[in-house]
């Protein structure tokens, strides 16, 4: 790597020639404020709070350049802390605030807000302008996402992530000049557009202009109601992020404390979605084998990510038959709680309030889908995000970090390592391969780590030779995370360029560990840690620690089949655990 010599605040440095002043300064321990910059995703230099003074070859640059996009050059001399720079940063923050709804105390981002933090660092006490503000738009019609334009600072981070990373393009700048806004076309509600509710925009937003719709009040009401039997399930990826809500490093696994906290909050039963992840593997694996054997529609594509499901329903309706008919683990779980569990323990299913904690904002909408019920009872009543659980724990005034480690309740709390890794991209595929390979070979295979499908490559492929009806058959699989990658795979399949048997798709880049409901990691912290990697590692290490690492080995799942469902893809399974999808129109005016 070529190096160049530069000076920052009098300090001489040798840095990579392809870096920026902001990153070089960070390496040198000098912090430059930033708001719009989201490395590799949004580098549009719009907010102008990262400005510096710079000389190139002894010639001062005319203006104060934005360090986030300023490439270093040999002999560059940069000053980040001059009166001129300090004045400029403060002015630009003041200008942002002058057009901002500065109600921090009643704001969901209070404490996690990047703008608030910057204001606090700058000791801003007054906003010296009293002029007009942008017209506020408040949209909470969807079940997942709230858009509050009065908080938007027009940084464009959500636009870039949705358009460039997710390949969707729900949001864009509209109007121009002072009237610029960030909104869906024609100011439609997020409910009615081609949004998958993946929430990537939410975790990219530095402020509270986009956030999840919260349901904490309903949860407390249920818990406080002695008549209700409130159960909770927690998705695999939640345990890898929840600790961040309490100051733990990104990707600290907190499974036991999480369980303990949920009990103390007052949930009547604390379960684990990992259980139904294992169950999903049996249902989905069986479905796959049936499709392969009986000439069903292939490739089969996973259906556990509601963000992906919506994406497919809106953009690729011709692939609906390829989707596995399995409900997602969240919904499978909910369906069992109000049937199997209720029957088994003699609980009136109408008194059960089924709560889930998910890394996901799309799950909120999934829970409200019409199909997601059994006999008119919603599988899941309330879906919370990891962040909301963090708040719930705080509201219960628990000292999270001091809690003991506890185990989830039986009989829907047992899980294997395969269920755990569901939270990371490739995890579902790996879990499925572990089970399918065992079933087909009739052996207890030891070589169970499928490295090809792990990691952050956009589209990962693997093939395994498995005996199907006695014939060694090459099973080709692909894993895509992020909807843009999913589109690539589908296009390749559609054009006939690629052939697969099985495809795993997760709507979020990195999978659920990086879901839209996970703890916020600020743009700055993302320069040092990659939450996708850290949290996935947390899951893989929990997998390694498990004695049972294959879904079909889960004793409670086995019991479920023995006592209740009889067999995977059987009649009752279909009633409870499977569903259908349909094409969706968007941007329709009623």
């Amino acid at each position: 790597m070529d190096k160049v010599n530069i000076t920052i605040n009098g300090k001489s440095l040798s840095v990579a020639s392809d870096t920026t002043v902001l990153l070089a300064a960070r390496e040198a321990g000098i912090d430059i404020p930033s708001l719009c910059y989201l490395k590799d995703i949004n580098e549009i230099a719009a907010c102008r709070v990262c400005v510096v003074e710079a000389d190139v070859k002894g010639v001062p640059m005319r203006n104060l350049p934005a360090s986030c996009v300023l490439a270093v050059q040999e002999g560059m001399n940069i000053r980040t802390n001059t009166p001129k720079v300090r004045r400029a940063v403060r002015k630009n923050v003041e200008l942002i605030l002058a057009n901002h709804n500065c109600e921090c105390l009643t704001c969901l981002r209070n404490g996690t807000c990047e703008l608030q933090k910057l204001c606090s660092e700058l000791s801003i006490e007054i906003i010296p302008y009293r002029g007009e503000k942008r017209k506020p738009v408040f949209d909470d019609l969807s079940h997942s996402i709230v858009r509050d334009s009065s908080k938007c600072i027009l940084c464009g981070r959500c636009i870039s992530v949705c358009r460039d990373v997710q390949g969707i393009g729900v949001l864009d700048f509209t109007n121009r000049g002072f009237h610029t806004e960030v909104a869906p076309a024609f100011d439609f509600s997020m409910r009615d557009v081609n949004c998958t509710f993946c929430g990537q925009c939410i975790i990219s937003c530095p402020v509270a202009a986009l956030h999840e719709k919260t349901y904490l009040d309903q949860v407390w009401a249920a818990i406080d109601d002695p008549d209700k039997f409130v159960i909770v399930q927690t998705a695999p990826a939640v345990r890898a992020s929840l600790g961040e809500e309490f100051g733990l490093p990104v990707g600290t696994p907190v499974t036991g404390k999480m369980v303990a906290a949920l009990r103390r909050i007052g949930f009547d039963r604390v379960f684990d979605t990992n259980f139904s992840a294992d169950l999903t593997i049996l249902e989905e694996g069986t479905e796959l084998l049936n499709r392969v054997k009986n000439g069903g529609t292939l490739p089969m594509i996973t259906s556990c990510s509601p963000g992906w499901i919506r994406y497919c329903e809106i953009n690729y309706p011709d692939f609906l038959d390829n989707l596995s008919t399995c409900k997602s683990p969240q919904q499978m779980f909910g369906a069992l709680v109000k049937t199997y569990y209720a029957e088994k323990f003699g609980i009136d299913p109408d008194k059960i309030v089924s709560v889930s904690v998910m890394p996901c904002t799309s799950k909120k909408t999934e829970a409200k889908r019409e199909e997601m019920n059994v006999d008119g009872r919603a599988d899941v009543d309330i879906a919370l995000t990891t962040r909301e659980l963090g708040d719930l724990i705080k509201q219960a005034r628990l000292n999270f970090n001091a809690l003991p480690e506890e185990e989830p309740d039986s009989i829907l709390g047992e899980y294997t390592g395969a269920g755990v890794i569901f939270g990371a991209t490739g995890g579902v595929m790996e879990a499925a391969l572990r089970t399918v390979a065992d079933i087909l070979s009739g052996k207890d295979l030891k070589d169970i780590e499928y490295q090809d499908v792990r990691g952050l490559g956009g589209v990962k492929e693997a093939s395994v030779i498995l005996p199907i009806d006695g014939v060694d058959t090459e099973i080709k699989v692909a894993v895509a995370h992020g909807t843009a990658n999913a589109a690539k795979v589908l296009e390749a399949v559609r054009s006939g360029e690629k052939n697969y048997h099985f495809i795993e798709v997760m709507a979020c880049p990195g999978g659920c560990v990086n879901g839209g409901g996970q703890s916020y990691v600020s743009a700055k912290d993302r320069l040092d840690v990659n939450p996708k990697i850290n949290r996935a590692n947390a899951l893989y290490s929990e997998d390694e620690r498990q004695v049972l690492r294959k879904s079909h080995e889960n004793p409670e799942v086995q019991k479920l089949y023995a006592d209740y469902l009889i067999e995977p893809n059987g009649h009752l399974s279909h009633k409870l655990l499977h569903t259908h999808y349909h094409q969706r129109d968007t941007y329709c005016q009623e």
């Binding site: 864009d172 109007n175 121009r176 076309a185 941007y587 329709c588 005016q589």
Partner: protein, 168 residues
């Protein structure tokens, strides 16, 4: 994606000649880089404005997200998402015209038509805009009605007469 429009609206795009024309234009732009702008310009010409249906149609046939199209249409002042009047009155508020009193011209037109800048008369006859320099500064103050340019509008009393010509 060249799937047919999936929406359930009742406009019949295969029979409406405007959509046929637009589709032909879109087809003629296939392979042209940056075609969104020319396509929107053509659509604006054909329909007179760019309502949701038209933008959806363009999005469906070009793959450009509708949010991006909407972003473009609300950025450039020549696009309109509202229907516009039969006649477009643009009073130049460029510098040369402004220093020569075009604000008064604008006020007068506004008074005569009974609408403010950006609005369309109730009878759908006129839309009034304050435009940027029309490049006829030598004749300032200038007003443009449709393609006709009127210069040297120093006598406010002459304005109703000019407008009257278009009122029929």
């Amino acid at each position: 994606m060249d799937n047919e429009c999936k929406c359930n609206c009742n406009c019949n795009k295969t029979e409406d000649s405007r959509y046929v024309d637009l589709k032909a234009f879109i087809d003629s732009m296939s392979g042209v880089d940056g075609a969104a702008m020319p396509i929107l310009q053509e659509a604006q010409r054909i329909f007179g404005y760019l309502p949701l249906e038209v933008q959806k149609f363009i999005s469906d046939h070009t793959g450009v997200p509708i949010a991006e199209l909407y972003g473009i249409t609300t950025f450039y002042s020549q696009f309109s998402i509202e229907p516009r009047g039969k006649h477009h009155v643009g009073v130049c508020l460029g510098t040369a015209c402004y220093v020569k009193g075009s604000q008064k011209v604008l006020d007068k037109v506004s008074e005569d038509l009974g609408i403010r800048v950006g609005e369309t008369t109730a009878d759908g006859m006129f839309t009034l805009d304050a435009t940027r320099c029309l490049g006829c500064c030598g004749l300032a103050p200038v007003m443009m009605i449709d393609e006709d340019v009127y210069g040297k509008l120093e006598d406010m009393d002459a304005i109703p007469g000019i407008l009257a010509k278009y009122k029929r």
